[in-house]
Amino acid sequence: MIDLCAKPIHELRDLLRRREVSSVELTRAFLTRIATVEPAIQAFVSVTGDLALEQAAAADAARSAGEDLPPLAGVPVAIKDNMCTNGVLTTCSSRILANFVPPYDATVVTRLRGQRAVFCGKTNMDEFAMGSSTENSGIKKTFNPWDPARVPGGSSGGSAAAVAAGMAAGALGSDTGGSIRQPASFCGVVGLKPTYGLVSRYGLVAFASSLDQIGPISRDVEDAALLLNAIAGHDPRDSTSAHFDPPDYTSFLQRGVRGLRIGLPKEFSGEGTDPEVQAAVAAAVRKLEELGAVTVEVELPHSPYAVATYYLCATAEASSNLARYDGVHYGFRAPADNVIEMYSRTRSQGFGEEVKRRIMLGTYALSAGYYDAFYLKSLRVRTLIRRDFDAAFEKCDVIAGPTAPTPAFRIGEKTSDPLAMYLSDIFTISVNLAGICAISVPCGFTEDNLPVGLQLIAPSFGEDRLIAAAHAYEQATEWHRRRPPV
């Protein structure tokens, strides 16, 4: 049964459709796999075994009744613990929400229920999605399935580790500055950050509202397309949801890369990037050329300013979004004699270190006397970063480079230096600032057997290009077939 857990969603879908396996059998296999592997990996905040078996039985019953079921029907998936699930604990990996049971579903969760997907659990993350290693979780640490001495990346580290270790067939993550792509790269799986506005944020616990976006983490590119098909599209409950009618993303899988113009920004190949990562990415670009793509040099002259820009606008938005955690309506409350003390104690005891640091930084950047110099300045540089991409995409169709400057780093390696941790998102952050889309796809391994990710970036609503190019590359290589030793 264990080999079922290593299969991509599209193969499981075919087995289910041919009745070679039932959803209950499949779900039991995944729950057994979780019971075996989870003690070493710690990817989940909650494993929802009873719910999963109930959903699996319902999917089997619908199939037996002759219903024509969608691709995700009966397939066990995991959901990052910052997406609201009606009646199921949603902690955001924070002590302040440790007992929060949402009375409603996020729109993406409603969409997955509509597909009759099976929910095997809620995955661990950096508290409030603030971090790049999942070490900032207020609940537990997650370990990289390729090397348990290393981080899975973050903030969607639980989702990436769960997919890599075969504890879910696919997962949802969220990406504010790289939180889908960087853990996908560290765990050797596919991670897609959709264009801002393509996927509804209704029911996603807000971190930085102009940057947050939900997307798939999967074993291969075809699965990313299937998951994106399920969650993309306008939602009247999210006022920033785009009025865009999404195509069937699986229809681009066979398009290939002949004539595709791949932009190579010289800013992405500089010092500070691990030589093994550089070599793997360079080899991936050559492979894409062999497949018929052409490369052009492009410039993103403001990308060296992206991390600084991000840590002002994202923290400013976070300080405002997290004002709602005051111990009144839900979550943790610290006892106190008056309401002001109650707010301060609740927040001081409920939030972890990194969340406090970002609230402080954001509050400072927005405070009287500093607003123009910090917050407004960052929004002006954000315009420059967006214009860089506009200019680059006049010369190319997609941009290629590394997802992260290094492979997975060691647990504890960067926890004492917040700035060093922030810089691990140096190649992913500008995509969120510009609101465009990008994918990380496995492109090799280091000598230590750690996965490396290739990042492909496309303009707004250019997910078709990402899927076509990433699938062509993936199918010409074997990286996505490797499994971690766990």
Binding site: N99, F100, V101, P103, Y104, Y196, G197, S210, P236, S239, T240, A242, H302, P304, Y305, A308, T309, Y311, L312, A323, D326, G327, V328, Y330, G331, F332, R333, D337, N338, V339, E341, M342, Y343, S344, R345, R347, S348, K356, R357, I359, M360, L361, T363, Y364, S367, A373, F374, L376, K377, S378, L379, R380, V381, R382, T383, P418, L419, Y422, L433, G435
Partner: protein
């Protein structure tokens, strides 16, 4: 841009409704100064003629008709409340006896 003093840290903590120990104040002053030192590189750029981008989607306001739709019941809305009474959220005193709040 650059340094942030311990007094500024205390002021920002008050604005943020965070209670900090003296230890916290010292290390936040250190961390925030180092982060602000890094973000000071934005000063290298002349942005006087550049409009700000607060949002990447060029969206108009998303208006809708003001119609009552499905909503949570009182019980559902209070289910996660740390404390409630008579169908309402309950909080500690806002104004103390003797007038000092």
């Amino acid at each position: 841009m650059g340094q942030i003093s311990e007094d500024q840290v205390r002021h920002v903590a008050l604005l943020s409704r965070l209670e900090l120990t003296e230890d916290d104040v010292r290390h936040f002053a250190h961390d925030l100064s180092s982060i602000l030192g890094y973000v000071a590189k934005l000063d290298e750029l002349d942005t006087s003629q550049i409009p700000p981008t607060s949002h990447s989607l060029r969206l108009e306001n998303a208006f809708r008709d003001d119609e009552v739709g499905a909503s949570l019941t009182n019980e559902q809305a209070l289910a996660n409340a740390p404390e409630s009474e008579d169908g309402l959220f309950k909080v500690p005193p806002v104004i103390q006896d003797g007038g000092g709040a």
